[in-house]
Point group: C3
Chain length 260, copies 3
């Protein structure tokens, strides 16, 4: 499903602009099993780029919701018994419908049982794992350097989207770096979770998982830059970034992109 | 409990202005069993018009909370085992206290089991069902045309509040159309859920369910128009609509009302 | 652990300014078991003053999260089976790690079983109980007058932070009154819950629980005053108060403090 040459065929920023246009035209459904802290911002981020989010957990419903969606996000942020069972069912539904799914292994660095569950899920082959440095170190057992990310992506047969000062995206062969963003993104809860939801959104309409991931991270990072210009702090920033995603235009994305 | 002549006795907009004044004076308690995505916006919308929201789910508590409230909202948005059991207990508590309750059958078009549960709840006679076109089609088995809505309201012995470009409210005899609102309302999560909570709020102090429903939908739709004038996108819109509800004045409601 | 002379040793406002500086430098982890309505605002309030919030509920995880944190908040706002069990585990983890914890007994005035559970938790010695007048009356069995608060704090061997027009903080010996704040704080959901989270944050780096509580309430109340100056209603107020917490400076805290 990956096309490792795609990123070199045309610029990532140009692809991101096209993916954004398609998202707004096709309005894909994205089902999210995500933590209760992040649900509202995540739903609004997805709506802002044209998607239709759903977030139910019920065991008897999750299979139908996932089967009727175009992509799935599984985020480990807040855990409880039913959420965990729902995640397993949702992943199975995604697999049997060959739907792309994204894993956001929030806080795996805090509890070994959570890391073990994340590893179990990674064995079921998410299209993308989006995570931060502490989470990567826990799962990959080493420092989140470029080489380690490429190796981990290759071994896991998945795309890794590593957030940091620059975001690093690798499918084990190609690697893209996205140097956009703003420090306020780290001061608002659920910003990473919303980014992972946008990765799922892009995957729903773009089969090249490397491009889809880089495009999503570029979108939210550029929106973050624009939002910071209209913010007095993290409260107004969280509001402005939804406005910025909604108003985001391809040419702005291309002009601002720091992709290498 | 319905007074089918009420809507013709005086204008709906005039009644809405009076209901808003009474809400702010009486500060009714509204218990909401609603989805975790919508809880924050819903609570803030209720607070903005003067109500006191509560949202607990615990089986051993829900009866006491509902019994001490003046109205109940049951919203099916995100489901889980305990939430479902809590809904059943809450509806029984509302019935035994002759408290009005509102059903918002979110996403019944996505899963047959959810539609079946909604039908079971409708059999327990909510005062109002507030839903969108896809949800209506699933429950009523036909297109959401005016005739179908009137028929469904009559058969279900309930008031139906159907959201759309124009909102349609019918008790099976009288029908009111509210043509206010703004497209950004569809781009913010939980806006419909908040509208349903306002219906519950209005029902808590107005026994004419048709009037109460039309009044609530008029309030949130006019607030949406006002908010759109102060918004740069759906992020700031979601903030401004709470401000607009809080600052909403009867004369503005009357001046802007597109009710027929 | 209490130093009853501390509050007289130097002004509470001066201490609050120092505590704020330390929060931002030390970035303590605060684990919160709080209601789903309040989670987002609470996380953003903690991030705004420099803390790292976590909010998981899972029985198998809560012990690890609490053990790795510097303070714990237990908020009874929305209840369900798992949340209740998680609270008990979390409190035990706090005790065995001698971590300070805060109890926010939301809505204990509504259901006797909730009040009973709150009393059980109070028996396990929270460092601070933060609550409003109705909740105090239920737990203390009397009117929330200054004498009653002092007595209740002494008997419960805890610090009581009572919210009202003026906030009252007592450890049973010393009593501090904080008269800052703004009426809009009562019109936004979860504002009290966020205040309690800030109390936990301050406790994580300040062993004098009286000072920590007064400092936290001063911070959120002054932030509320500043936010009100930039707000058009409760929607924009909820956004501005996060900005205000983020931008809060010691000298402003000291200049505005109405502490006695």
């Amino acid at each position: 499903m990956h096309h490792p040459q795609a990123a070199s065929r045309k610029s990532v920023a140009q692809s991101a602009a096209e993916i954004l246009t398609r998202l707004r035209a096709q309005r894909p459904r994205v089902h999210c099993i995500t933590n209760t802290v992040a649900q509202n911002l995540t739903a609004n981020a997805l709506l802002a780029v044209g998607c239709v989010p759903s977030m139910t957990l019920s065991m008897e419903e999750v299979d139908s919701f996932v089967s009727g969606a175009q992509a799935l996000l599984v985020n480990l942020g807040t855990f409880d018994r039913e959420r965990r069972e729902a995640m397993t069912i949702a992943v199975e539904a995604a697999r049997s419908n060959t739907l792309p799914w994204v894993l956001d292994p929030v806080f795996v660095d805090r509890v070994p049982t959570r890391a073990a569950f994340a590893r179990e899920l990674i064995g079921r082959r998410p299209a993308v794992i989006r995570l931060n440095h502490a989470e990567f170190s826990t799962l990959a057992g080493g420092k989140p350097l470029c080489d380690a990310v490429v190796t981990y992506a290759r071994i896991s047969q998945t795309v890794v989207g590593l957030s940091g000062e620059s975001d690093l995206v690798s499918d084990g062969e190609q690697t893209v770096s996205v140097a956009n963003g703003h420090p306020l993104m780290a001061r608002v809860t659920a910003m990473g979770c919303a980014g992972s939801a946008l990765v799922a959104a892009c995957l729903s309409i773009e089969s090249d998982a490397l491009l889809a991931t880089a495009a999503a991270l570029l979108m939210i990072n550029v929106a973050g830059e624009l939002a910071a210009e209209n913010s007095a702090g993290p409260g107004s920033f969280a509001v402005s970034i939804i406005d910025a995603l909604y108003n985001l235009e391809g040419p702005v994305l291309i002009a601002r992109a720091k992709v290498s």
